[in-house]
């Protein structure tokens, strides 16, 4: 599925964006299936705004975002849900776990949301093992450290089918070693699905073999 951005300008950032050049804002960009895109975004340039706009969480923009040739504005609630279950997965900067569910339940909920589930339940344990969070699986997510929560959020994003993975500073709470492990897992899963991803971060990095580097 192709993602197209046409003259996209978030209304709150309009004045600010007029003064600087961007590879994304107010221009025409197409992301083709399977591309690994890194978007470097200095603070305040609308990184999270972009991620939320791509994921249809906000609608306060000019221009158009289309998934598979269809403008996000024309997606009805049921279609949006299908898109989020089958085509696009997301890792939020603020993780967004249910604090009252255990880490495992948070992942499990996402796994069984798609019927039939993409992975068996045992995959959760395998991934948690790889990211060294197996010991917190049965702990309430609200009690986990940010680093643990971030890895839970990564696993949650990886147990569903997707063509695109959208990540907003996915390693911000991880040390270099753990970030590497997480990146490795993400790369494996994306390759397995022949999926593309869009990763936004503040700085340059070498976690992935990016096919495109853009500046927000």
């Amino acid at each position: 599925m192709q993602i197209q951005l046409q003259q996209l300008v978030p209304v709150p950032l309009r004045d600010k964006l007029e003064q600087r050049k961007s590879d994304i804002w107010n221009t025409s960009v197409t992301f083709n299936k399977g591309e690994w895109v890194k978007i470097k975004a200095p603070s305040g340039t609308g990184k999270t705004t972009l991620v939320h706009t791509l994921y249809k969480l906000r609608d306060d923009y000019e221009g158009a975002v289309s998934w598979g040739g269809k403008s996000l504005r024309n997606y009805r609630p049921a279609e949006t849900a299908a898109l989020r279950q089958q085509t696009v997965s997301i890792i939020f900067q603020d993780m967004r776990l249910f604090p009252n569910l255990t880490a495992r339940e948070n992942i499990e909920l996402k796994r069984v949301l798609t019927a039939p589930p993409y992975y068996e339940a045992t995959v959760i344990d395998a991934m948690a093992e790889k990211l060294q969070v197996a010991h917190v699986l049965n702990q309430r997510a609200g009690l986990c450290s940010y680093g643990e929560q971030q890895r839970i959020a990564i696993i949650r994003a990886l147990v569903q089918p997707f063509e695109w993975l959208v990540m907003d500073e996915p390693f911000s709470h991880l040390d270099h070693n753990n970030a590497g492990k997480a990146a490795e897992l993400i790369a494996t899963e994306c390759t397995k699905r022949k999926a593309g991803f869009i990763l936004t971060d503040l700085d340059e990095d070498t976690h992935f073999a990016y096919t495109r580097n853009l500046l927000l």
């Binding site: 609630p77 849900a81 069984v112 798609t114």
Partner: protein, 391 residues
């Protein structure tokens, strides 16, 4: 997925409200279903085979005689048409009076009297006799006499006059000589009683004879009828009684007496209805508030669920599964209660010779289903609306 959702969306937020709604709904359902059941019972009392009274289904109607309308108590075509068009009238017939003077005297027993005849269409007559037919070749004129006449003779007149009492069969075997006065002198016929009836208190002869004789001996002018007979399913129908009263008509009060009880029952049933429906509305309102409260208190969770890709339909299905089953349970419990009450009442009334079916009527079950459907619809629409708002 649902066990996980259940951990997220807790329905405990408005427990008191929920219990109030359950209580209100139970009482409302009990009132409404009892009203339906009462109505069904009353219906079965009126129309079932074992309580049907053949006499009561035919009413002879005439104008109420007052000082003003003496001598002009005929029924106009408008009166007749009006009555014919009422929903309670199944059939209507005219009583045709004789328009000539008749004098009768017995041959074996000595009696003589002036008489009159009336006739009604055959479909209103409850005597089935092979002799009930007349052509101008007939040897005698068949007559139907009210039972009351014979009773009055046997138990009132005969003992006081030292006359023999007569059985129905004896009366039927006695030939009666009829003289009809005409301008040119008397014409004589034989008449015979062929049956006794409780339905119409008049001396009846076949319609064919009446038409023929009125034409031949009558004064010639067409006279408006003054009495009508109507066939009705329910002589106790308050509508009928009201209609007759409003139009200055009169009928056998004994037969319509039932309408007074009927009005009482109707009023009780109606009060039960109205109260039940009002309570149902309040119960539905409280249920709606409960659903709204539950969804509002879980707004954050629902928003995140939708963000993660939960389809509105998945949420709806889950929420309906939380909210709707109590309604089914309440309905079933109330139905069982109504069935037990009906059974007890049937047993109690049997001792008083009133026969009611011990089983609950189908109408009650149908009403319960209908209310359940309404509840489902309200639940569904509320859940749908507030999910859309929570998104």
């Amino acid at each position: 997925m649902f066990p996980l959702l259940k951990k997220l969306i807790r329905t405990g937020a408005g427990r008191t409200r929920f219990l109030m709604a359950v209580l209100g709904l139970s009482v409302a359902l009990l009132l409404i279903l009892s009203a339906v059941q009462l109505q069904a019972d009353y219906h079965s009392l009126l129309y079932s085979k074992n309580s049907q009274d053949s006499i009561a289904n035919f009413l002879v109607v005439n104008k109420q005689l007052t000082a003003q309308n003496i001598g002009a108590a005929e029924l106009s075509p408008a009166d007749i048409n009006g009555l014919k068009q009422q929903p309670f009238t199944d059939a209507i017939g005219q009583l045709t009076p004789s328009r000539f003077r008749i004098y009768a005297h017995g041959e074996q027993i000595p009696f003589s009297t002036d008489l009159f005849f009336e006739s009604v269409p055959d479909e209103f007559i409850d005597v089935t006799s092979a002799d009930w037919a007349w052509t101008d070749q007939s040897q005698f004129i068949p007559m139907i006499v009210p039972n009351m006449f014979l009773d009055a003779y046997n138990f009132g007149f005969a003992p006081s006059q030292n006359l023999p009492q007569l059985t129905q069969d004896v009366v039927k075997s006695l030939p009666i000589q009829i003289s009809i006065s005409t301008a040119t002198g008397n014409v004589n016929y034989y008449a015979k009683v062929v049956g006794f009836s409780d339905r119409i208190s008049s001396l009846l002869v076949p319609q064919q004879f009446m038409d023929w004789a009125n034409k031949r001996f009558g004064t010639g002018e067409v006279v408006k009828p003054s009495r009508l007979i109507i066939k009705t399913k329910d002589p106790g129908n308050p509508e009928l009684v009201k209609y007759l009263q409003e139009h200055g008509l009169k009928t056998d009060a004994d037969k319509t007496r039932f309408s007074k009880y009927r009005q009482q029952v109707n009023m009780i049933v109606n009060i039960s209805w109205v109260t039940g429906v009002m309570m149902l509305l309040f119960a539905i309102l409280i249920f709606t508030l409960f659903i709204q409260l539950t969804i509002a208190s879980c707004k954050e969770e629902i928003t995140l669920l939708v963000t993660l890709g939960t389809a509105p339909r998945q949420l709806q299905r889950f929420l309906m599964r939380q909210f709707f089953p109590p309604n089914i349970i309440i309905t079933v419990i109330v139905l069982v209660a109504v069935a037990i009450l009906q059974w007890l009442m049937a047993g109690f009334l049997q001792g008083k010779s009133i026969y009611l079916p011990a089983a609950t009527s189908y109408t009650t079950f149908a009403a319960a289903l209908l209310i359940l459907l309404v509840l489902w619809l309200v639940n569904y629409l509320t859940v749908k609306k507030y999910i859309a708002q929570a998104r």
